[in-house]
Symmetry: C2
Subunit: 237 residues, 2 copies
């Protein structure tokens, strides 16, 4: 047991709620569950015990993983799981993140995706590690109910999913989000936190801007992506 690293084959869910989400959605990848010695028995813990027993997942009582993995004092359950691969669904709505660099932001965007019923995420490399414990935590377990795939370049993504209508979000775009009709299946495309999308995305599909006042440079990436998802799906909810 050591600190999480990007190249490890395993990652972790820190906390009861996250571990429950992991067991519910991806139990086939769970290797082990750790209980802190100070963990108090309750219904949720019982549920974890029943699930683990049924699927032959060992439960280990030890404080060591908590000292290594968790800075939070109120974490009493950790799930250890094998990283897994998924593939995007063709002809479904996608979110495409080009070079995302912040683990927490990635998790928050994934939570919003599931909130708005978009469950396919493309990440254009280089991009932050989707299995980082911070991403898993910020997603509040939503990571376990989406498909995701990394691509070497945007062209590589485009080659694989040619049917999607492309909507790059950028400050240089002319079309306002309020005047945009998002045609399904759509791909909502966002750039890096600091730099946004490269200028040549103006030639990709229909580029869109979320208008805002001149008193800020740009909206936070998680906010921009969530507003875009909200607007593109609002007729469904």
């Amino acid at each position: 047991m050591k600190r999480y690293k990007k190249n490890d084959n395993v990652s972790y869910t820190l906390g009861t709620t996250l571990t429950i989400e992991l067991l519910k959605e991806k139990i086939e990848y769970v290797r082990k569950v750790y209980f802190h010695t100070k963990l108090e028995q309750n219904e949720v813990i019982q549920k974890i015990e029943v699930l683990c027993k049924k699927h032959n997942i060992p439960i280990e009582k030890s404080d060591k993983p908590f000292n290594i993995l968790s800075q939070k004092e109120n974490c009493f359950v950790i799930g250890e799981f094998n990283k897994f691969d998924t593939e995007l669904e063709k002809n479904k709505n996608h979110v495409v993140l080009v070079n995302p660099s912040n683990s927490g932001n990635l998790g928050t965007i994934i939570r919003s995706m599931v909130g708005f019923g978009i469950t396919n995420l493309a990440i254009i490399s280089p991009g932050v590690d989707i299995f980082d414990v911070k991403t898993v935590r910020a997603s509040m377990g939503a990571l376990f109910s989406i498909n995701f795939e990394y691509f070497d370049s945007f062209l590589d993504y485009q080659d694989h999913y040619q049917n999607n209508n492309l909507y790059p979000f950028m400050l240089q775009a002319n079309k306002k989000i309020t005047n945009t009709k998002f045609q399904k299946p759509f791909s909502l495309i966002f750039g890096n936190e600091a730099t946004g999308l490269p200028r040549d995305f103006l030639r990709v599909g229909t580029s869109v801007i979320i208008p805002h006042s001149k008193n800020i440079d740009s909206l936070n990436l998680t906010i921009a992506a969530s507003i875009a998802m909200y607007e593109a799906t609002k007729e469904e909810f």
Copy 2:
């Protein structure tokens, strides 16, 4: 010089961009600017020097404040400022946060507020400290261009700003945001990150829900607040 504490009379801007925003918007409260000994001269630094000279603000070259206040390696400028009081504008649009508990979230919401041209923020106590260095940073300096006020209770706020139309955002609400016409001046009201608004807010003004899928419990607070601001102001941008 010591670590930032809530009861201090001063707070800090960590980094060049934040310090520039501070000097632009609230120069009358600036006590001192610190330059790291490794700071390299450039146009922005020159601008800071000119502003400080003009307003008799001392610049101190010392690495100590950076070691105490900043964990980031790329922080070479710190601004020290006196905390200040402001009052909300009557008959303007407000955001009301009831018991916000996360400093970073508060800053992100303030950034979105300025993005959507809402520059009056009420915080119902207990709530996180608006001058926390994490809030200042997450706001990216937007904190320096809003008015804010703390209130002991929501009733207290309501007494002071009786003309505002109240829109509490809650999962129990019946009215969908997409069917809501926000009448100005409006107050968009949001609860605590973990608990949301107490149920009795259903009787306050027009309660509103941002519909989302059943696969998440709720949207992240910063996301919900930003979508609400976007929707309530979108005809202006």
